[in-house]
């Protein structure tokens, strides 16, 4: 019996001493953290994707509270949570939030297996970074998509995947949070964050080839040759041609699609527009046959 009593007392004493030490330490070494940071952190999605530009959601919460104290939340946007989350955070901090446009990742290359002929076979490490370091790739276009999927590996949301028929990555605009990981992963800067657009519609030049016209045409059937027709056609001055490549500024584009019609190479792509109405059946021919 004695032993049990001694054991209980000894262990009890150790426990008591440990508790006192821990209590003292938690008081002496306590770090004061603004309780709002934890509250804001609760509202954020918790994906730690870095899309806001801060190290994780806790970093963003910290920046938001600092911003609130400084008087403005401008420039702070959580792409995953979107306007809804930012609205809740603004309410909590008692601030107004600037409205910012939703963005989406756009792959600006249409050099599919059909359009771009292979001139070599790559037999090395199958990542875009390695292939880019080796040379132009398996085709004659030194600017186009290599199709090895560095962007797919970088995406934490499963929003981008390589289409096995075309060999080019495709973005699922429901899942894309515009965090920008794929943009950084692409060694050729083919992917760009552009405005999602009303009803998810957008117009962009699906080419980043800066070679002169003849070389670009030889490499790919739908490459931009820098002819400038689109630049002349655009009523809003949204298109600039530089280094044999046209670029549509997504802030200025009004989705009129005049450029799509005049491009001789079909290099400009309009996404999520309704299909054009079929041409009316020619009445004269019908009458002739009768």
């Amino acid at each position: 019996m004695n032993f049990i009593l001694i054991a209980v007392i000894v262990l009890g004493a150790i426990g008591l001493i440990a508790a006192i030490v821990l209590f003292a330490a938690s008081k002496k070494f306590a770090v004061y953290e603004d309780p709002r940071i934890a509250q804001v952190g609760e509202l954020l999605p918790g994906a730690n994707c870095g899309g806001c530009g801060f190290p994780g959601c806790s970093g963003m919460a910290d920046a938001l509270v600092k911003g609130a104290d400084a008087g403005s939340l401008d420039g702070l946007m959580c792409p995953v949570g979107g306007a809804e989350t930012m609205g809740k955070v603004a309410d909590l901090l008692g601030m107004a939030i600037a409205n910012s446009e939703p963005m989406v990742a756009v792959v600006r290359c249409n050099g599919t297996c059909e359009h771009r002929a292979k001139i070599a076979e790559y037999a090395g490490l199958r990542t875009c970074a390695a292939m880019h370091a080796c040379g132009a790739g398996e085709t004659a276009c030194g600017f186009g998509c290599l199709g090895c999927g560095d962007c797919v590996a970088a995406c934490q949301f499963g929003a981008i995947s390589i289409n096995p028929e075309t060999g080019i990555p495709e973005v699922d605009d429901e899942k894309c949070t515009s965090c920008g990981a794929c943009v950084k992963a692409c060694p050729r800067s083919i992917i760009e964050l552009r405005k999602k657009g009303p009803k998810n519609r957008r117009v962009y030049v699906s080419c980043v080839n800066k070679d002169k016209g003849p070389a670009a045409m030889k490499a790919c059937a739908v490459s931009c040759i820098g002819c400038g027709k689109c630049e002349k056609e655009c009523p809003f001055g949204a298109i600039t041609v530089e280094n044999n490549l046209a670029y549509i500024d997504h802030q200025k584009c009004r989705l009129c699609r005049k450029c799509v019609a005049v491009c001789p190479k079909k290099a400009i792509v309009a996404v999520n527009f309704p299909a054009p109405k079929p041409a009316p059946a020619p009445e004269e021919r019908k009458e002739e046959q009768v």
Binding site: E121, A123, G124, A129, A130, A133, G135, A136, E138, D211
Partner: protein, 455 residues
Amino acid sequence: MKIKTFSMGGIHPAENKLTHEVPTIVAELPKQAIFPLGQHIGAPAKPVVQKGDKVKVGTMIAEAGGFVSAPIFSSVSGTVFKIDTAIDATGYRKPVIIINVEGDEWEESIDRSNKLEEVAAHPELTPELIVERIKNAGVVGMGGACFPTFIKLTPPPTAKAECVIINAVECEPYITADYRLMMEHADEILVGLELLMMGAKVTKGYIGIETNKPAAIELLSEKCAKKFNGTKYLVEVVPLKQRYPQGGEKQLVDAVIQRQVPAPPAIPVNVGAIVQNVGTAFAVYEAVMKNKPLFERYTTVTGKKLANPGNFQVRMGTPMINLIDACGGMPEGDNKLLAGGPMMGKALTSVEVPICKGTNSVTIISDEEARRKEPQPCIRCAKCVGVCPMGLEPYLLAKLSEVKNWERAESEDITSCIECGSCHYTCPAHRPLLDNIRLGKATVMGIIRSRAAKK
């Protein structure tokens, strides 16, 4: 006497020196010569001709684009066709000057005679004049790296040059261009060495040659003794054990003068050695003594399935397909076309790529050798650690690059890697070690540069 070699690592790939005893022939002039503007380390050259200009052999067609740069001279006579882009050895389209070849008219200032010019016969030569002529002739490292030679001869104030080491090692399999150059132009090479020693203001010189070239060792030793014995120059021919990568400049300095160059940013001149390829020494002789700028070189065209592999004296700008056709044409089936040797050469996507200042060989690898086997998991055999000539741990560096752990990669000295490929060659699991390490090294060097720029 024990044959000298470098301190650690190294491999013994199959030699395959198919063209060792094939005498050099002068390649035919092409119909069109293509001159990339970026044939050297540093800023690309800037064109000084335009479409329609008439040029002669030896006319400057592009001037140096900055301090670390070199001018480019036409190797043919004819009319400038256009200034355009074309695929070069980097695999990308780069700015080039294309010249349609007409006849073979040379600039009058070039001395085309075969007379051997000795330094003693030219009292006007001073170290400064030698360096100036080398610079104006556009001479760059001919071993493949293409670093402007005149800069190497004027080391920074923190380093003092003590000797010139001629790299005649040619440790890569297949390549025999340097060997043929030594056998056919030994006298000129030795005058070139003397000019380099004068330009660098040193009196000690070494010529490193691997033991698989006994005839060259004997020939050069004999001529060296005759030329330099009794003069103020101490020149020694150093036979080196046949082992890859003996030709790497750090390994060469280690083997010849037993001094190890520390990790980057240190360079060989920090331990007193200026290393120059034997082809560069020859180009220096021609530039200083014959007033001939750099526009032609010795190139080996070889491969197991080539009908007649050979060594060529070729004008730069000649598309490779011309030389390959002279050797019997591209072999049937799938091939790898390499600018350089199998260990460090660059695989090309086009047969029209021209011969440039650093193209010491065109190697064609065929069939199974052209493809890689499927990689298997690392079995931790440590063979890569055993063969690394820089004392690194390739399995670790490759893994760190794969998982993008740049801080640890930097602390594990990834920037010391000389990209020789010994680790990749040895790995029993066929893992793409050098692919990963190369990418990691480039990223870490970018991080170091941006860190230095911020300061």
